[in-house]
């Protein structure tokens, strides 16, 4: 079995987000990038499947810092690492990258494509249905457990109200992973350094394969909603200040 895992690099939300000059994108120049958390789980699930049932894992990374994350994927057990060419300084648009993922899935003869159920730049989880549709393969999103039972894939999917549905799906298939069966493992620095000796493959981006439909005309940063006030740690001052705030807001007739 061959598993293709998609690893997307997203802006570190702890950084300060700024818009580009045209107001239609995030200025990526001063941002740190990190692996999308759900994709991290997808990678873990792929490695767990490999350990349980035997598989070849091909990791495909997109975005700034791809090489670092691919090293990590190899250190964790991926057999092949490919950096997918992406539009520089651009958002990772599921609609745009689906074509490349599909092309790689075909050229690598993958039986299973795993990616995170969503990312900060694909909050509605469109990569899985796009890729599934283009490949003509069944797809399920929101998995919390994958296992191979007699050459068929079992997918446990989380639903509302704590209900979990388990599907049996014929391969090939595309799965959007919400959580891996186990938390992503820690990979030590020495293993990372070992993995840095592995050659990283490259893949050119392929046409999206969709007609142009919609595009972003404006992006807005989170609004400033007023800040908290630190009342300090002197009990008397705190009490005075609290009383005057309550009075000012009309909660107390001081």
């Amino acid at each position: 079995m061959k598993i293709l895992v998609v690893l997307r690099m997203i802006p570190d939300s702890a950084g300060e987000l700024e818009l580009t000059g045209d107001g239609r994108g995030i200025d990526r120049e001063w941002l740190d990038f990190q692996l999308n958390d759900f994709d991290d789980h997808a990678l873990e699930e792929a490695i767990l499947l490999k350990e349980a049932a035997g598989a070849t894992v091909v990791a495909v990374a997109i975005g700034e810092g791809s090489n670092r994350v691919l090293q990590m994927a190899v250190a964790r057990g991926a057999d092949e690492a490919i950096a997918l060419e992406a539009e520089a300084d651009g958002m990772i648009d599921s609609r745009a990258i689906a074509g490349s993922i599909v092309a790689l899935a075909r050229s690598k003869a993958a039986d299973l494509v795993l990616c995170g159920v969503q990312s900060t730049e694909d909050l509605f989880g469109q990569l899985v249905p796009y890729a599934g549709a283009r490949l003509g393969w069944p797809h399920v999103s929101g998995s919390s457990r994958l296992s191979i039972e007699a050459s068929a894939l079992r997918v446990t999917q989380e639903r509302g109200g704590g209900i979990a549905a388990t599907y049996e799906i014929a391969l090939p298939a595309v799965i959007g992973v919400q959580t891996a069966s186990k938390a992503p493992r820690y990979v030590s620095g020495s293993k990372l350094r070992e993995a840095s000796k592995t050659a990283m493959g490259k893949a050119a981006s392929e046409p999206a394969g969709f007609e142009r439909s919609a595009e972003i005309v404006a992006l807005r940063l989170p609004g400033q909603r007023g800040t908290g006030e630190n009342l300090g740690d002197n009990p008397e001052n705190v009490a005075d200040r609290l009383a005057s705030i309550l009075a000012a807001k009309g909660f107390a007739g001081v």
Partner: protein, 654 residues
Amino acid sequence: MSETPILWIVTLAAVALTLWRSRRYVATLALAPGASRFDQPWRRLEGLAIAIGLHRKMLRKQLSGILHALIFVSFFVLFTVTIEAFGSRLFPGFSLAPIGGDSWIALLQDLFAVLMLVGLGLAVYQRYILKPARFRGSSGNDAAIIYALILLIVSSLLIEAGARIVGGADGSWRPVASLVADLLRVLSVQAHPTEQIAYWVHIGAILAFLVYIPGSKHRHMFLAAPNIYFRNLEPAGTAPAVPPERENPGVASLAQFDWKQQLDLLSCTECGRCQAVCPAYASGLPLSPKMLITDMRDALADETSTPLVGGVIAEETLWACTTCRACMEACPVEIEHLPKIIDMRRHLVDEGHVSPMLQDALSNLTRLGNSMGKPSKMRARWTKELGFPVKDARSEPVDVLWFVGDYASYDPRVQDVTRKVAELFTAAGVDFGILFDAERNSGNDVRRVGEEGLFETLAQSNIDAIRECSFNRIVTTDPHSLNALKNDYRHFGAEFEVLHYTALLAELVTAGRLDIAPAGGATVTYHDPCYLGRYNGGFDAPRDLIKAAGYALHDMPRCRENSFCCGAGGGRIWQGDDGVKERPSENRIREALGLGVGIFVVACPKDKVMYTAATDALGVAGQLKVVDVAELIRLREAPAAEGYDRIEGGAING
């Protein structure tokens, strides 16, 4: 059958049995990986002479030191008795008489037999009446058997000598044996049979002792000296590198430890001095440095024992260590606890066995170079609130390259101190610069947590950045960075001149470059950070600064080499408090509260964080202010809202 062949048979049988009982230890040491501990013989001998001849560490505990010295010296004097006892009958005609065996040697034997009994009495008094907590977990039977054997050996030799005097021998050089002879006469025992019985009891007890030694802590009689001789002569702050021939970074079985690490296990005397000073043990965590060693030692003898890491030594035990080094400082036989803990942690990390909190911190360090998960671009943000720009050492030459460190850079509780240090440097006219976002965590605690690969990555990144700069000296805020840059980076051929900011400030004060307005002489106490004091000998500079700032210092009972760790080191700051009954930091604050001082001076960013949290948790923040030594210093021309006044106003606390 005459006595000579019997004694030969019995002696040879005892020696053979002793060797047989030692066989497993001999084999394991012979097969152990190598360790280069054969250099600098004179320095090694000098240390050995001090450790044994002067009982230097032993005497830190007075009663134990004195009683051990009594037994130790008496043992050597009474060894002449053993030589005579065996020599005279193994080789008929042998006697010490020509060199004074019947005169001055006899007198010494008599007196030291009594001193041996005094030492033994003190030992019994200490173990069974005083019962120090450090003996908890030590083998009580082992001690009792040895006490009984010593008592038997000494009393039999006195009775034998007494019986000889009753039989007509000269007792003028044997005052004690003469008293025993008087007693024997009163009991009207027969001289010759009594002498014979006492002789064979003496021989039997000595041989029993010999046979008993390989399985007991009294191995130290033979192994303490070599273990001290082969001690580590590297700087205390250099963590052992992973030997190139080792396949994985860590150690997963006892056999992978080099012979010195294994010799350590066999040399342990179970004295428990390490346990008594261990902050992890004091806080109720499942780590006693003594039990760590004895558990591994017992496993060395037991081929059927469970896996080393996670079996013989529990994972929680390994993670409990703060790497404060108090255990190694206290150990009279120079056992190296930390290299073992670090090597076993390396195995856990390599296997991915880390707690979720630690995994987060290490992942952040891998990704961003700091444990907090903050962008590296924000590392130098603290400089924004300074009234002056800070030089970028990457783009212009500086005299002093300031390695600020994670906590001093990012933690809002410490940034005020960092700015104060910058202001002091500027006021003194120091030409300094920082690395801005090129600085990474120094890797000191990363290395001690067992993450050798990540340490190498961080260290290499810092070394590359530092080598790009033009500077004369490096100064660090964090003692942990100080230690890594000064000691650990030597592995990469990087030998920088590194000093702690307290050392630089003390230098500036001495040179008269800081115009200090001394405070009114209030009494403060000071906490020695492990990685500044015990690891790097930086005891005096902070104390000099406290005095220069106009304060009187009242040290805590545990100070300087005996300082008690705050609990944050060795990666503990990245782990939870599960299982902690009393946080080491709170234990320490209680110690300081006993002095009745109002200011608790620190010289480490982590200490500022740990002790501020501890005074808050204990509800004593109003009583005892945690103040960095830099904050104590008030300059004459400084604006009003500086130093002591701000501290007094309480505004700085938080």
